[in-house]
Symmetry: C2
Subunit: 634 residues, 2 copies
């Protein structure tokens, strides 16, 4: 955490100084905004939190509910999401509060006494250490609270506008300054039932499976017609089932349960399978009473019993595997600027069995947020916005394919498995997907070709940057390189030095000279006039040497940039290797050095040799606009 460089901060450094625009921010929802976010679920709140970092962009978020979410809904937090929370500064707090999944147990009918269940396997969660962050369970409401706090503490002092339902959107003349019109209906307060209109440059529909935004841009959910029904209950209970505090898949002669212990040590959630429902049911299954679900749970758990003491939340829901073909308002084949986007459940629905919904929704928003910011700040062309649907629709398709496979496995009768450990083995074999790390973006204007992948095998281009430990030279702290990546919309350049001792002639020194001053350097071309050098790019160097061999006086100045009103030196950009955990070995980095470019949403964008400055220049030239006239005309 870096602070004090704009002057001494006496209070909580997580509360950033308010921008002037925050003081000017109208209490009531204004008639015109830059970005209107519809819905304050996980996607909407992440997007709001991301855009709150840019006080020059006027973003508002409307929500149908009259206030914060209080109970129920999603609870599974994959490690990829915790990584993301780290970038938003609240990982350590939510980790302290959440249930940690470290294993999953599988139960099936006892072959000798099939009316009784027995534990058939214990599987380790994340056996491969795919992330340094844990797999959590915590109420969605708390995730939303933390994003809301981040947005409220941001320079924009952003807060949701509760009590507005979006009725639809319409996109007008593309040349208008605010081409999207959004009719909103007051759902609470003095104006309840009344409508008003807001005009926006961009609208993002984060309004769930029955999205009005989706409907009004003509996107349709395609997929299964058959719905699968679940009873889900958050309960406090006394039981002799020994794995009540461990995540379990329980299969019995009476049906199956997905069992999820919850935060706090006592509460747990059970998904009780109610089976397929055809289209003729018309929601009748939703009337299933909680007593029925508890009775079913007791039958499934036999010989164990469950005495429910308190039902914190109960719901029956039906879900199908469905997906829209595009995530924006541009019809297939047309080539114009998207003005309306949809995210999360508005685009893709599936079962809750793999614990993916909230997570994938948040990554939708993380993908979109920085792109909207770059375009609205005049740093990127509007064409950047087309990459959102292009990248995320495929991810959603993969999710639905995975979830269908996993749901099918879980729905199989016990006797249909080759052996009782099959389900557990499938869970372990496919663990990378539900942990959130199978996302891989294809080459595009913001993702390079894998030409030089061999220079850093451990940072696959298109996949999320998997952090590794290094030592910060200035203060001798062993830290995770990736944890310095905050959700601030900046690109990261990780410069891995060649083997020469710092101070000697080297490729990294030549590269640093280029970045510092060459006309085609992205730092020179794309940093706004008068702004600090690290405004658009956060450039870090990692040397192969341990810290004792790295003298700061020998490090090129571009890695020790000045910042803030006092033009102080930022010392948190120069790293060495840990003798007992060398990042060059851990991530397969070529000893000749290389540059790893990471997108603002933490995905590896490009890898180039230190000698290939032209490649880096070309890469950024695709998606960034020159900020300095003198140089662009040179």
């Amino acid at each position: 955490m870096q602070f004090h460089h704009f002057g001494y901060v006496s209070g909580d450094p997580r509360v950033l100084p308010a921008a002037q625009s925050a003081a000017d921010r109208p209490q009531q929802l204004p008639d015109e905004v830059d970005v209107l976010i519809v819905g304050s679920g996980p996607a909407g709140m992440l997007l709001a939190a991301q855009l709150s970092q840019f006080p020059d962009i006027d973003t508002r978020i409307v929500e149908r509910r009259p206030g914060r979410l209080e109970i129920g809904q999603a609870d599974g937090i994959q490690a990829r999401s915790v990584e993301t929370f780290q970038a938003f500064g609240f990982a350590e707090r939510i980790v302290a509060e959440a249930y940690h999944i470290t294993s999953m147990n599988f139960w099936s009918p006892d072959p000798q006494h099939p009316e009784r269940i027995v534990r058939t396997s214990r599987e380790i969660d994340d056996p491969h250490g795919i992330s340094e962050f844990p797999h959590l369970i915590v109420n969605q409401a708390r995730v939303l609270d933390y994003f809301a706090e981040f947005a409220a503490n941001s320079p924009s002092r952003m807060r949701p506008d509760y009590g507005y339902e979006c009725v639809g959107v319409s996109v007008g003349e593309p040349d208008a300054t605010h081409p999207v019109t959004v009719p909103l209906r007051h759902t609470a307060g003095d104006h309840e039932g009344q409508e008003r209109r807001v005009r926006a440059k961009y609208v993002v529909g984060c309004d769930g499976a029955r999205s009005a935004v989706r409907a009004s841009i003509g996107r349709r959910m395609a997929g299964n017609q058959a719905m699968h029904a679940w009873a889900v209950m958050d309960v406090l209970a006394v039981t002799d089932f020994p794995d009540i505090r461990t995540k379990c898949a329980i299969q019995s002669e009476h049906g199956s349960i997905l069992h999820i212990p919850r935060e706090g040590g006592y509460l747990f959630r059970m998904y009780v399978d109610l089976g397929q429902v055809d289209g003729q049911d018309h929601g009748a299954i939703r009337a299933t009473p909680v007593e029925h679900a508890i009775e079913r749970a007791n039958e499934i758990l036999h010989p164990y019993t469950l005495e429910v003491k308190d039902v914190a939340w109960y719901s029956v829901y039906e879900v199908a595997h469905r997906l829209t073909d595009k995530f924006d308002d541009v019809p297939a084949g047309e080539d114009r600027t998207p003005r309306v986007f949809i995210t999360g459940d508005a685009c893709h629905t599936h079962s809750a069995k793999a614990g993916q919904g909230m997570n994938v929704s948040m990554q939708d928003a993380f993908n979109l947020g920085w792109k909207l910011a770059q375009v609205l700040q005049g740093r990127s062309p509007e064409t950047l916005l087309a990459t959102y649907s292009a990248e995320r629709q495929e991810i959603a398709q993969n999710l639905i394919d995975f979830d269908r496979e996993w749901s099918t496995m879980m729905a199989k009768s016990p006797e249909d498995f080759a052996d009782p450990t099959e389900l557990g083995r499938f869970y372990t074999a496919t663990a990378e997907f539900p942990a959130g790390f199978m996302t891989e973006y294809h080459p595009s204007m913001i993702t390079g070709e894998p030409t030089h992948q061999g220079l850093a095998e451990g940072f696959p281009i298109g996949k999320r940057f998997k952090s590794a430990r290094v030592v910060r030279v200035a203060d001798t702290n062993a830290v995770h390189l990736g944890h310095h990546h905050r959700a601030d919309g900046r690109w990261r350049l990780y410069v891995f030095a060649d083997a020469a001792t710092p101070g000697r002639e080297s490729r990294v020194n030549a590269w640093a000279d280029w970045l510092q001053g060459a006309p085609d350097s992205p730092l020179v071309r794309f940093t706004p006039e008068g702004a600090d050098a690290d405004t658009v790019f956060d450039v870090k160097v990692v040397y192969q040497q341990p810290l004792e061999q790295i003298e700061l006086a020998a490090v090129p100045e571009v890695f020790l940039p000045r910042c803030g009103p006092f033009q102080l030196i930022d010392y948190e950009k120069v790293y060495g290797s840990l003798p007992d955990d060398d990042i060059f070995d851990a991530r397969g980095i070529d000893r000749g050095g290389c540059v790893v470019v990471v997108r603002p949403d933490q995905y590896v964008a490009a890898i180039h040799p230190l000698t290939d400055t032209a490649g880096v220049a070309e890469f950024f030239g695709r998606s960034l606009l020159p900020q300095k006239e003198a140089i662009t005309s040179a």
Copy 2:
């Protein structure tokens, strides 16, 4: 973190349900209170936070300042303090925000060019891994903020009463319900300058080196008359000194600097030595201007330069090594209940060089808080309160001895050292003291004899319980056993099982039966009628087996107690050993098992074999009062 067991908690689980007494708590300071804390520094705020956990005790804290501390004062946080913060639930947040000391560098005159300083050694901070917590630097104001938040979120909703200066105290008739009278003067607001009186059962003076509470109970500071003067500045600066982000002791021909990087990556603190001041100076040295200190710093740092851009805080202070003979109002030789206590700087003053002041002060308060609570709740006799001065005065004497030695070392001229690395070696050799882990309480009514120390060599009786990793059976999480110890005033019983597989006949089963139901069991005798079984004692069992061999159905019920309105099972009391980090090996625990008793302030109180139930019964009989008449008369 355990919650939801009193019903679903929708918001931040760190905000506990308010007690009725919190609703009844008067906005203004009342005329009568149980405990009056004078001063809201580190000792006062820790004590307030501790007592806030007991809403049936009416505690108020008065502070001379009109509001929170904003700047300056102490900043060194030893690992022992971070352990303590963990018990107050904010370690992870302050760790995220603070500067981490991982090494200390030493600079001396270059033997060839003595007018220039050179780095003579780099020493690792905590090379022995004495704690799993880091050594931090963070503004005292933030420590106070976190304690204030904890107190405000407590069942008592406790908040300091700002703007009251304590003029003195007087202790009246011991039989009075509120024998201590405290005249207070308003320092701000409409009543500024006016006096009022508050009567209290107990008063704790946390009012600093010029303590009015100390003066009025007739305690005097004894020790050095000579004062040592320091200029201390928190500044933002540009420099070419390469270790500006590393803690350093810098010795030069022009004097010495203790250099402390601060939180946030830019700010740092320099203590510039101004030398000894005799009693005739009358504070003239305090007029030393900051420009002089900056000039001195530049001379000392030569050939490096320091260009100060902003002075966040500057002070000159003089300090002597002084100590009071007792920390309460009972004259030596008399044997009555103490009614007034003093803590922290009110009892002991010394240099800032070892970074001890705030830390030792907090441990004073942590030692006192639970004792006051036990007495006021009728759980312990008043004689318990005499142990506070008896235990802490000796610790303060050790601190002053250590600080004098360290200060003398740092004040030596470079040429007086045998070799340039001597100071660095002294720092490393004595590291356990300044880290806060040399505190060792002697046998008393709350600390047992070391008769059975051999059963758990790694838990020295009288020293703080050094946590180790175990696996929680119910949820398969690897956790630190000691991190479950919260600042809730409860005693901990760590029951290390003998080698028998759980479920087989064993000593631990026999011990559990005794604890559950025997007439001399402390659980039976000292738990209030109708209260949950874990109200006074938090009893945890650690098996030698890995979790797969421990079935909860085979664990004695006393380790799976019921709690709350629904009498739910608490599953966080049963642990196994980690195959790759066995606590029995790590802490030298006898394979025949034993019971380790830990005090509410985290110090190991007693160790007994599982067969020695009488020893455990006798130990608690010394300091606790029976709560159930039927049993005490039996």
